[in-house]
Symmetry: C2
Subunit: 550 residues, 2 copies
Amino acid sequence: MRKFVAQRTKSLLKNTSTTSSLLFNHYSHQSSSLNSRYYNNINNNNYTSRFARFFTSINDTTSMASDKSTPPVTVESLNPKVLKCEYAVRGEIVSLAQKLQQDLLANPGSQPFEEILYCNIGNPQSLGQQPITFFREVLALCDHPTILDKSETQGLFSADSIERAWQILDQIPGRATGAYSHSQGVKGLRDSIAAGIEARDGFPADPNDIFLTDGASPAVHMMMQLLIRSESDGIFCPIPQYPLYSASIALHGGTLVPYYLNEETGWGLEISELKKQLETARQKGITVRALVVINPGNPTGQVLAEDNQGDIVEFCKKEGLVLLADEVYQENIYVPEKQFHSFKKVARSMGYGDKDIPLVSFQSVSKGYYGECGKRGGYMEVTGFTPEVREQIYKVASVNLCSNISGQILASLVMSPPKVGDESYESYFAEKDGILQSLARRAKTLEDALNNLEGVTCNKAEGAMYLFPHIRLPNKAIQAAEAAKKAPDAFYASRLLNATGIVVVPGSGFGQVPGTWHFRCTILPQEEKIPAIVTRLTEFHQKFMDEFRD
Amino acid sequence: MRKFVAQRTKSLLKNTSTTSSLLFNHYSHQSSSLNSRYYNNINNNNYTSRFARFFTSINDTTSMASDKSTPPVTVESLNPKVLKCEYAVRGEIVSLAQKLQQDLLANPGSQPFEEILYCNIGNPQSLGQQPITFFREVLALCDHPTILDKSETQGLFSADSIERAWQILDQIPGRATGAYSHSQGVKGLRDSIAAGIEARDGFPADPNDIFLTDGASPAVHMMMQLLIRSESDGIFCPIPQYPLYSASIALHGGTLVPYYLNEETGWGLEISELKKQLETARQKGITVRALVVINPGNPTGQVLAEDNQGDIVEFCKKEGLVLLADEVYQENIYVPEKQFHSFKKVARSMGYGDKDIPLVSFQSVSKGYYGECGKRGGYMEVTGFTPEVREQIYKVASVNLCSNISGQILASLVMSPPKVGDESYESYFAEKDGILQSLARRAKTLEDALNNLEGVTCNKAEGAMYLFPHIRLPNKAIQAAEAAKKAPDAFYASRLLNATGIVVVPGSGFGQVPGTWHFRCTILPQEEKIPAIVTRLTEFHQKFMDEFRD
């Protein structure tokens, strides 16, 4: 069925004719019974424009008028941008994993493994990571503030979580955690976040620049919605990239302009490559509007050096590009020789102020050491736009009213965690450090194991939550994949899943140099499971190579 | 500044030339240093299509290639769909209110009122409504499950909230409330919701038809994104309508096709009007794809009669329209002669099964008696689409990973509240009944007060949270509004705000029969404040009429 749909989709995309764009589509309407009733541009509060009647009769451009009913909704009649969008992280391989999991539940022992290990997605708590206690204490108290005054509460919650909950409630008008907030998020929580950014960067941050969102994804969509006017607008993205970007660009009808990271230099981001690709894009008539940088990298795990970041800032400044900085893995750094520097800090260090460069930094509560994916909290810090453009960003945010308040609270907490001297500090630090140290060990163990496999090389995971090994597949395996109508890396990943229960995402979901094959594997399974994973992976790979070796 | 921007926006919208739509916009890219590197349709896991290279050179259609940098981001260079979108509920009048509130804080006594009363938005807890205790107990326990086993917890939480929290945690894989869930939401929570729908309707509901979302707004956006291909696609909306619909249609580039509710018959939805407007739209070349019905009505407050709903179902069935049923006010009914019937129940009662009519029902935790706007929970029940179309809906949901888990839990709770015999039942029922009875009294008091004003008539608020009075303004007031470059209803609303601190939304934000003027006012201020509001409103209106009476 899936294949059938894909083919029908493809044929639709080939055959759909282009339609011209009419900017004013509120058509005038006439009514025989009520002549004074006409369609009055209802979206506009402005008196002048409301009376100006910008009606474009679509009669002029089409002749589709018909008495027949609208045909039923089919895949062919859906928005082609939706059909084009793909998101491999929850794609075909995950459907297969869910099927296998159901089989395992129904018939234990029916598979050569006991459980499915979801290494496809950065979802730490789904694999057993425990939440940070202090954060959850505060969230629970803000959810049910009537217990704050009760004596039993002192026995259940730390003193500083109770104090913090009071502080947060006092920042929320009417202490109403059940009310819609300001469309950018509760002002007091934005104050805390701005203070956290200042402490991190050593440069001022303005709470009015913060837009709290339900995770980073809606923030990315919002920026794409604002910047993309048509397929002639391009967004520069790294290849490999996190497929939210390709999906969002497809949904908003723009063009993804690729720049390749250099695997040989540890997924280096080279300015010469940016220049070359920008020139190519411009020659093709693309207006490149923004540059996406993911630092630390997803799926590639590299951490950019500060001078490299400076070059990227210069490049964006010179070329007039909005710098979209995906910095959601800013807390996930595993090597002592690397440090996270925000692009805003780098730009400010170079002397560029708010007026010099449009820069959006995305942050999320889903990543870091906290990994609170289910809370859907995050923010974007929006700098370097004119007040008029900012007003439009605010308007789009206001259509969705606000992001969820628990997510807002958590976003403020991760940017202002307990400090030395607070009752929770020691246990908080132990939890945080334990998770980060363990992640570093897991990354190293898996990286070494992958590098020991025949034909596999794997760059170091300096940060983020993933490894992205390069697998050199024998020609026989590539032919077998072709016969199975799968990409070679998808063929490898589905064989791996069927043999071991380990779910990884084929590199083709992220983009890769054509003719090379990779997969993305998270470093998130609990540490005690890592040795067994290494064994299963090694055994599988050896058998796979034995089967297909040229 | 605002006006200046509005004018520039308008001029931009007038001048922007149409661009032809290219469906394949991943252009091929060449690289001198790495000839084998070319842009490899990264969004597609399908082997065949990944190798088919659907590259359309944009060179053929544009000649914009340039060596110069991209011009800076200005309002003129933003997506024109964004510029066109408006959302009056958080528009100009609210900006003025926020300014006045700051003035009041800085200089108490500087205004002729002591506080701003936000009657612009259905946000009950912002005006002092307290959350339902049972729901908040369960949410707090799910946020911090480690206290579930502690003895102090028994003293702080009801026994059934503890039991319910355990049940919910057991439904969540790994009890991980901090993990991303299935993209449609946690399966066990969808089971509870489906059971709640079955209990409400007396017809089966399938948990696989439920998509949990961050409130109803993202669900509405998702359906618009799927259905709207271009401005030739129309979405039927009531006038007056909730401006989320006009905003979402504008953002997705479709055409709002209006049908007018009949104010004279209590905002009646007449099939003859639907037929007439559909014919007009089709004559203009619009493919009308879906019909939005808001029941109970927003901003109009009417509750549809069951036989009227049956006629609407027949109409959609005959005309091939997707029925988008905004049923977020299903719990808010204030008159004994009216009852809520879901459109799915009505369709099933008529003998129409899942295959007969595509129908989407939107529900939210923000409304009802619970009014948990800040939790951003909600769902859509999607029926009557083919599996292939459903797969596309799932794909779009999966790009955003999942909705927030607290919102998901709350959505399941409002559809399965405490039952007779549960420890919390009595207090739960008392809280619920107290809120609904009070809302009914407030609606009646405000309705009567409005009907007592010179030149004002106001239909009954049978349901929802709003009154939408018709104000007949003297010619002098209309001229004064024109001189102030405001719509007459916006002029009235800003005068009202400046004199009383009461924030209402001008009718022009929702749409109204041209030449008529209205405003939307929520019934949500706390009951003890209603008499003072009535007095202030009555005094203001009399003075306003004295000033402008012809």
